[in-house]
Every structure is written in C-alpha cells, then in structure tokens.
C-alpha cells in the first residue's frame, strides 16, 4: 500500500494505491490520522483509484476514519474505485454513508 496526499483548505486528499487488507490496515489508520492532525483538516477525500484489492479489514480502516471525521463535524468522500473494489464498497454499505464521486474536484465541491 502506498499513500500520497495533498491538502486543500480544510480537506485532506488521500490517494491510496495497492492492497488494503489486514497487513496494512493499522498503517493506513495511523498515517491518515497523523496527516489529519498535522494539517488540521476536518474532511477527507479518499481517492481509491489505485486500489487493487480491498477486504473487510481495509473497509474497517475506512469506516474508522469516517467515524472519526464525522464525530468532529467533518465529511468523508470516496473518489473513483476500480470495478472490483467498488463492488465490495457497495456490498459493505459504506457508500450509503460516505459519498462516491467521479473526481477529486467533484468530491471537494461537496465538502
């Protein structure tokens, strides 16, 4: 798993690539939480365009971040996921609480 990030005002944009599973779930959680603290951001735009695999451990990491930002009054949006990953996201129900957008710009406008 690899994380790239940029900050747009109060929103942390995280671009994830690779596999999101039990092996990297803790690292994902710690890195994203640390970036949120460091940049004083309220919202997260999670770009999953480069994610090749996700399971319930990876989804748990996303759900945990969703809970964290919403508790602080922020929002979490998900951007573009490959078909296979999107299917898992849909089944998990996470898309009914976090929005799914076609582009980072579209997600940023919804923040």
């Amino acid at each position: 798993m690899k994380l790239d990030f940029t900050v747009d005002k109060k929103t942390l944009i995280v671009r994830v690539s690779g596999e999101l599973d039990l092996l990297v779930a803790d690292e994902f959680r710690q890195e994203v939480d640390a970036l949120m603290e460091k940049n004083c951001t309220d919202n997260i735009v999670l770009n999953l365009g480069g994610v090749r695999f996700i399971d319930s451990s990876g989804l748990g990491g996303i759900l945990g971040r969703y809970k964290k930002v919403t508790m602080r009054g922020g929002k979490l949006a998900i951007v573009t996921a490959p078909v296979q990953v999107k299917r898992i996201l849909e089944m998990s129900g996470i898309l009914s609480i976090a929005g799914l957008y076609e582009s980072e710009n579209e997600a940023l406008q919804a923040m």
Binding site: L22, L23, F53, D55, G60, G64
Partner: protein, 149 residues
Amino acid sequence: MKITNQIKLSIISLPENLPLARVTVAAFAAQLDFTLDEIEDIRVAVSEAVSNSLIHGYENDPNRIVNIVCTIYGDVLEITIEDEGKGIVDIFKAMQPAYSTDPERMGLGFTFMQSFMDKVEVQSAVDEGTKVTMRKEPQKAVTALAEEN
C-alpha cells in the same frame, strides 16, 4: 467425489502471508473456468477466512500455523482454512452481518465469505480451533449443465 487436483499451504500466522495466501489460491482456482470477477470473489473470501484465523483464532500471536487446503473435484473448488486457535463460542452470532468485537472492524468477514462463495461451512470448538470450508463452482459450468438438461 474424485479429487482432480489439490494443494496444501501452511503459513505462519503473520499478516505478511495474507497476500501470498490470496495469490496462491487464486492461481490454483484459475485451473477451473472462473471469470475474473469470480476469482476476485475467491480472493476476498480467502482473505477474510485467513484474517479471522489471525485476529480471532490466534489473537495476533505470530507464531502459530494456518493450514490452507485447496481441492478441485470435477468443476468444484473447495477451500479449507483451518487454525488451532481459541475457537468460536457462538458460531451463529459470529456469522451475523455487522457483528464485530472491535470498533475499527466492520464485522463483514463471514458475510463476504457467504456472499462470494456458493457454500460456507464453519466447524469450531472452543480452545481447539476453527475450520472454514468454502466451495465455489464456475457459473459458466453451472449454466452449461442447466442448458444440457
């Protein structure tokens, strides 16, 4: 039923071995006429079952063994994932969607296994371990058989 092919993979209970377990089972499954979506289903199901053994069965103890056996019987792939961990007290409860013992987890492990495989059986005894048996047949094979009849 007669065994067409079989592999056995024993891994130490380290999360580092999860990608290997998924890739190995997926490569073996590719001997049957599965679609790419079906192979992906199998990868997720294996990931969930092995993760359960590591997190729940062995409670993250990295010095235990998970045994994975994949067997092809005709058109059917059977995968068993077995640990000698603490076992599941209430299998029915553990298999309910959104049942989780941890707020950072979704409790969807068994739900995904059941959604992505044709059949999932769980045998477990407290302090002895858990064995998950999953079966899947390529949908193409099922359709072809239905057309023949």
